[in-house]
């Protein structure tokens, strides 16, 4: 089986941002579409504010679970510097969707390293189709910073090889099962992400 029809989505961010949850929901949505799916992450110390990346691959048959460098179709960047760090994983023509909310690690706070200048611009200059917006602000406007996750998924929904509403359903199903009170607000967050992407 060739890997050429596999869709590769790389989700990057830092521990605690919901990277793994976003990847899990993407995987579930792809599964419901009937694809073979593999998801992998390196997150041994993820809860400690370290880098977290999750690889989601789906297609007729997925072999190796990790996306090789230069083969990602979509990069979901939960933080601008992390998006910059991983953007070369995209294939030419790939799409980067970036949350503009900066999160500085202690090494930057302490003055040991500088935060990169205009990370989104740097990604654009590398010839990447990058879309950036402040998902954190949208989430806070909706009243819950944790909604960033759903906002970001809404934003990438039109770039998937299956209908965006299938992704929305996967998110809402998850909340219907565990936290039914949050279904409505997540639907709003998804749509807000979808609109934000369309408007930028």
């Amino acid at each position: 089986m060739s890997n050429q029809i596999t869709t590769n989505i790389l989700v990057s961010g830092i521990g605690g941002q919901g990277v793994m949850t976003a990847a899990e929901i993407l995987s579930q949505a792809a599964l419901f579409q009937g694809y073979d799916v593999k998801k992998t992450e390196v997150a041994g110390m993820a809860q400690r504010g370290g880098v977290v990346t999750s690889h989601v691959r789906f297609g007729e048959q997925v072999l190796s679970p990790a996306i090789p460098p230069g083969e990602a179709d979509i990069l979901v960047g939960f933080e601008p510097a992390e998006a910059l760090r991983w953007c070369s994983h995209l294939k030419p023509g790939g799409v980067a969707m970036v949350n503009r909310l900066r999160q500085e690690p202690p090494v930057v706070t302490l003055g040991l390293y500088d935060y990169p200048d205009e990370p989104v611009e740097q990604i654009r200059q590398a010839g990447i189709d990058v879309h950036a917006f402040d998902a954190g602000a949208i989430a806070r406007e909706l009243g819950n910073a944790k909604l960033v996750n759903t906002v970001m998924l809404g934003a990438i929904s039109k770039y998937l090889p299956f209908p965006g509403d299938a992704l929305k359903d996967a998110i809402l199903d998850r909340f219907r099962a565990n936290k039914p009170k949050l279904v409505g607000i997540n639907e709003k967050a998804f749509e807000a992400g979808r609109d934000a992407e369309a408007n930028n």
Partner: protein, 631 residues
């Protein structure tokens, strides 16, 4: 418990390798499961504990977990234990003799190698244990096989009377894939434990008689390996290279070279040498792709089979497709080619790629301690004490070696802080005559392997100050319970260790033991400064819980009053990630020296009100948010 989804029913399910191992064991009728947490294997027992038909436990260390599994196997119940690679080092004492004994009901050891060191102190190849202990090694290549191989491992164990090693890696444990499962079938040896000293009492006379049986068993396993469907060939048109491989490397090989013949080893030890020789005869060159060490390669070379291995492939890290492609191109004398658009054959020239150097200069983002972590105050104090040698251990507090504290000098293995500290004391030379030797370890590490080390310190009258950081959980692996938390793997109440009494029992004088709240900086500082001066064994126990477990109580957050902040940077020495710098300024002091100021704020959404940083703030610029808004 951390993120564990409800139990899956049979059918097509999306699960991690770890979950699949638990499922396979359960379906096999396994009745006892034991483990000490360790990345990447931790979740195996978390999932196992959700099956009510299986007794499951957090053991205090891996050796004990294997011993529990051994006892259960002899008692007639299928049993398994799970551990990370370094865990089997600890458990190996039991393994190396149990292989002589054999088993009762099926006995399976799941061991997870952290290939690429995402969360470990070293990289090891656990396949060695198969050779060393003369036991079979099964290597699944994805979650489905992790499930299948676990299930069949118990039968294999009983058929041959041997413990079976299930070798996993991070790319099995932490990869989710589609798993098609079945149902549980109950199993036990109904006669129960049968006394048989000649088999179970390993005195020299008995063991001597059993060792030939162990070798004879390995011969029979070799015959199985040569004919088993677990070791199978996938044909391919491109016969220039044939690959022999195992574990997740199989998936990488298939992805990178879909047209090449592959011999996949599911039962990788004993290695089916003749099967491989036959496979080699049908290809121009044989390449062995094995993560980490050249074990199979060495055996093939010894058998006179020409093979290319580690001279072309990396000896460390994952052998992912992007690692394999250039290495194999080098063997074939070809340029590396990238694949073009869907449906087309590989391009003759490399396709355009996004500059791989973009983003290479982004700052590192190493793991760090959490907001309000009870260890923050400890390392703040340790960083302020001069003339110290600090031996550390394995756990979140290992992060104290990083910025801004830089207050940890050694990390080796579980419990090593104790022995190393005594060695630093007893082995000191004149230059270190006045050095204060300090050891730092956590509650779980202490119970795992540190207690013996403390006993050794008191017995030998060591001059060591021990910081026993009791946060009531196994923190780094995600917050598992232990005898110090007073809860078992199911969260049920169990006897809780009293660390003060335990340290007294191990020989520390009562007056040399202090139980301190690590958020009370002056008290902590005082205890530490006094005890390092006393030429005796002292223990300072901190008693506040990990912020990630339910024992921790969140308090109202703090914020910085901008006008009052003088930019002194004292609070930054705490190392709390909720404190961030808003602007920097360089001023010239009256003595002409330059001083850098950094004005800060607190992320009040992240702050949990631990009250540590206000104690470092001279101008009292850090106030509770509620007080601030009232003003």
């Amino acid at each position: 418990m951390n993120a564990v989804t409800p139990l899956p029913a049979a059918g097509r399910r999306f699960m991690s390798g770890n979950e699949a191992v638990a499922r396979g064991a359960w379906e096999a009728g396994c009745r006892v499961a034991a483990a000490y947490p360790g990345t990447p294997s931790t979740e195996i027992l978390e999932y196992a504990s959700q099956y009510p038909e299986m007794y499951s436990e957090w053991s205090v260390n891996e050796k004990v977990s294997l011993e529990v599994a051994i006892g259960s196997s002899l008692a007639g119940s299928r049993a398994f234990c799970a551990m990370k690679h370094v865990g089997l080092n600890v458990a190996s004492d039991a393994l190396m003799t149990q292989t002589v004994v054999g088993v009762g009901a099926g006995l399976v050891i799941a061991v997870a190698d952290d290939v690429g060191l995402s969360s470990s102190q070293n990289e090891q190849d656990s396949r060695f244990w198969g050779r060393f202990a003369h036991v079979p090694v099964l290597e699944p290549s994805d979650a489905q096989e992790a499930y299948e191989y676990t299930k069949l491992a118990f039968g294999l164990s009983e058929q041959f009377g041997t413990p079976v090693i299930l070798r996993l890696t991070t790319r099995i444990c932490h990869v989710k894939g589609v798993v098609v499962g079945g149902e549980r079938k109950e199993f036990c040896l109904e006669q129960g434990f049968q006394k048989d000293p000649a088999k179970y009492v390993m005195v020299p006379g008995n063991a001597k008689k059993r060792i030939p049986l162990m070798f004879e068993r390995e011969e029979r396993l070799l015959k199985l390996s040569e004919s088993s469907e677990l070791n199978s060939t996938l044909d391919g048109e491109d016969k220039r290279i044939g690959y022999v491989t195992s574990g997740p490397a199989f998936m990488h090989v298939r992805e990178a070279f879909p047209d090449s013949p592959v011999l996949k080893l599911g039962l990788s030890h004993p290695a089916p040498i003749e099967l491989i020789r036959h496979f080699a005869s049908g290809v121009d060159q044989l390449v062995v792709v094995e993560e980490v060490d050249p074990l199979l390669e060495t055996e093939l070379k010894a058998a006179g089979i020409p093979v290319i291995g580690k001279e072309a492939l990396p000896r460390e890290g994952e052998l992912a497709p992007h690692v394999l492609r250039p290495a194999i191109a080098g063997i074939l004398g070809e340029e590396v080619v990238a694949e073009e658009a869907p449906g087309k054959k590989a391009a003759l020239v490399p396709a355009v790629r996004i500059d791989a150097n973009i983003g290479k200069n982004v700052f590192p983002r190493p793991p760090t301690m959490c907001v309000a972590c009870p260890h923050l105050g400890i390392y703040y104090c340790l960083s302020k004490i001069r003339n110290t040698s600090i031996s550390g251990d394995i756990g979140c507090y290992t992060l104290g070696a990083g910025h801004p504290w830089n207050a940890l000098d050694t990390t080796i293995c579980m419990g090593a802080s104790m022995g190393v500290a005594l060695g630093l004391d007893k082995g000191r030379v004149e230059a270190d005559a006045n050095k204060r030797v300090i050891a730092v370890l956590g509650d779980s590490t202490f119970m795992h392997m540190g207690m013996q080390g403390l006993l050794n310190i008191t017995y030998n009258r060591g001059n060591v100050t021990i910081l026993l950081l009791d946060n009531r959980t196994v923190g780094m692996t995600g917050g598992q319970d232990n005898p110090g938390s007073g809860r078992d793997i199911h969260g049920e109440t169990s006897p809780q260790v009293d660390f003060r009494k335990l340290c007294e029992a191990l020989g520390v004088k009562s007056e040399r033991i202090h139980v301190v709240n690590p958020y009370e900086l002056p008290t902590l500082f005082k205890a530490l400064r006094e005890e390092v001066k006393v030429p005796d064994t002292s223990v300072i126990i901190t008693d506040q819980p990990c912020v990630l477990v339910d024992f921790y109580k969140v308090k109202p957050p703090y914020m910085v009053e901008d006008d009052k902040c003088t930019g002194c940077k004292n609070c930054l020495d705490i190392g709390c990630p909720a404190i961030y710098v808003t602007r920097r300024e360089t001023v010239v002091k009256p003595n002409g020296k330059e001083k850098e100021l950094a004005f800060v704020r607190i992320d009040s959404q992240a702050c949990t009100g631990c009250d540590l940083c206000p104690k470092t703030c001279g101008p009292d610029a850090i106030l509770p948010v509620e007080q601030f808004t009232r003003n």
